[in-house]
Amino acid sequence: MKIATAEFIQNGAQPVTGANKIIEVKNVSKVYGTEVVALKDINLDFEAGQLTSLLGPSGCGKTTLLKIIAGLLPATQGDILVNGKKVTAPGPERAFVFQDFALLPWATVLDNAAFGLKMQGKPKAERDDIANHYVKEVGLDGFQKSYPHQLSGGMRQRVGLARALSVNADVLLMDEPFSAVDEQTRRKFQEDLIRLREVEKKTFIFVTHSIEEAVYVSDRIILLSPRPGRVSEIIDPDIPSDIGPDELRRNEVYLETVENIWHGIKKYVD
């Protein structure tokens, strides 16, 4: 049953459909100052319920694009549509997970997770209740009263994730969420992310510079090229969904996809 569902979503990912696009990026360009063209003419659709990765070498504009989608940064040109409506500011349907976690050092895990709800003006008892649910869901039960400095990097990012989940946004925007986390924790995190997707049925836009990570977790990979940032390729990895994480890293399709992307990206890295 699970497999069938997963397959259905994967088939829905093919470009032919496009009926349920939740976010559209239309002709977006971004120029910093007068010189630095960070993005040029980006056109992209993001399907509801999918995990899409933005992949590319450092400096190709991944963060810039994600922040424009989040409404944290104005585009120099072009529009962002969420459910068909133009947006220019952050909204309740999008939640951001920050690369450097962006946790309040003076607030407990629970209070950090409840921060978004507090901004919405939810009463304390209610927001604590909701935040507590997600703190447990990301595997931090027992740490509700801890402070960020008492947690490891991986645990801190789980708090960032709980905060984003608590506001019940449809779209989670994640900027290299695992890059400040050690390799072992990172793998565990990737597996948790895949599990979380099945539970939460949300749309994920996921920035990474790791090819393996992108191929492992994504329904679709958008390859960006640097200077100026453009969409250079769109890849839908067709990896069988019924194999475990350990098998997967030896799977032929997986290895082949990683290899292909590396060939596409190699010319930009020197």
């Binding site: 003076w106 921060f115 978004g116 402070y147």
Partner: protein, 275 residues
């Protein structure tokens, strides 16, 4: 800029695993604190008995002098006189200084208008201007309040300003991304994030305020603690003079330490949590 009497932001980053000197002192077991006080008293006693300077009293003589001034009421009366301009001046400096500092940190137009004034005020040797205050305000309470404000406010303002400018951009972005408005951003992110450096400025400001009020009492109006010091010096009551000086130093240290405690209580619970 390098002459500014501000704490270095890099040293003040909210690393709870590297608490400030004050909180580290506070965490020492009581026995060690008592032991270090005892050692200090012993060294003082030996130095006093060695007779290297005719005006330097022993520790025991100083304590006895302190006690006699407490008993005859002159110490209490002096503190009552000194504390009034000190408190008025500090409260004014705190309210105006923090407000101005935060406003300068948040708004470029306010920064452009006011920052140069405070930079000059902080760099100038304000103590040298205290005699001028007498020309304007005479030898009134106002003159002493002004002296306190002149010394305490610049450092409080500049530190509050720098504290706000040093708030991590990613926290402000985070608040924005979760749809926090400007008011929420200031109250829930900027002020608590800036509080360690702001309180460092407040502690410096309170210390400066003590200098201000004692200087005013020495230079403008012979009243309070300043008068007590001057009087006992003039009659060669050196034990009494030292006792007065030591008491005001101790008082200032306790006042500054109390501020640290208030900060932890109000804004930074995580710093009280380190075991």
């Amino acid at each position: 800029m390098s002459t500014l009497n501000t704490a270095d932001p890099a040293l003040l980053r909210d690393r709870a695993d590297a608490p400030g000197l004050m909180s580290r002192l506070a965490q020492l077991p009581l026995i060690w604190k008592l032991l270090s006080v005892a050692l200090f008293a012993l060294a003082w006693e030996i130095a006093g008995r060695s007779g290297f300077n005719f005006s330097f009293p022993t520790f025991t003589a100083t304590v006895a002098a302190f006690w006699s001034m407490v008993v005859d009421g002159s110490m209490g009366a002096a503190y009552l006189r000194t504390i009034e301009p000190l408190i008025i001046g500090l409260v004014f400096s705190l309210v105006v200084g923090v407000t101005m500092g935060v406003a300068m940190g948040l708004r470029e137009d306010v920064e452009w208008l006011a920052l140069p004034i405070f930079i000059v005020m902080q760099a100038a040797p304000m103590a040298a201007l205290i005699p001028l205050v007498t020309f304007i305000y005479g030898i009134s309470l106002t003159a002493k309040v002004v002296a306190v404000v002149m010394l305490a406010m610049p450092v409080i303002t500049i530190n509050s300003y720098k504290a706000v400018r040093n708030v991590p951009g990613s926290l402000v972005s985070m608040c924005h991304s979760f749809m926090g408005n400007r008011r929420q951003q200031i109250w829930y992110v900027v002020v608590p994030a800036a509080s360690p450096m702001m309180f460092a400025g407040l502690r410096l400001g309170v210390a400066e305020g003590f200098s201000g009020v004692v200087l005013a009492e020495l230079l403008i109006t012979p009243t309070g603690i300043g008068d007590l010091i001057t009087f006992h010096r003039s009659v060669a009551n050196f034990a009494h003079m030292y006792a007065t000086i030591a008491s005001i130093v101790l008082f200032a240290v306790i006042a500054v330490g109390l501020l640290q405690w208030v900060e932890t209580l109000l804004f930074r619970p995580e710093k009280g949590n380190v075991k």
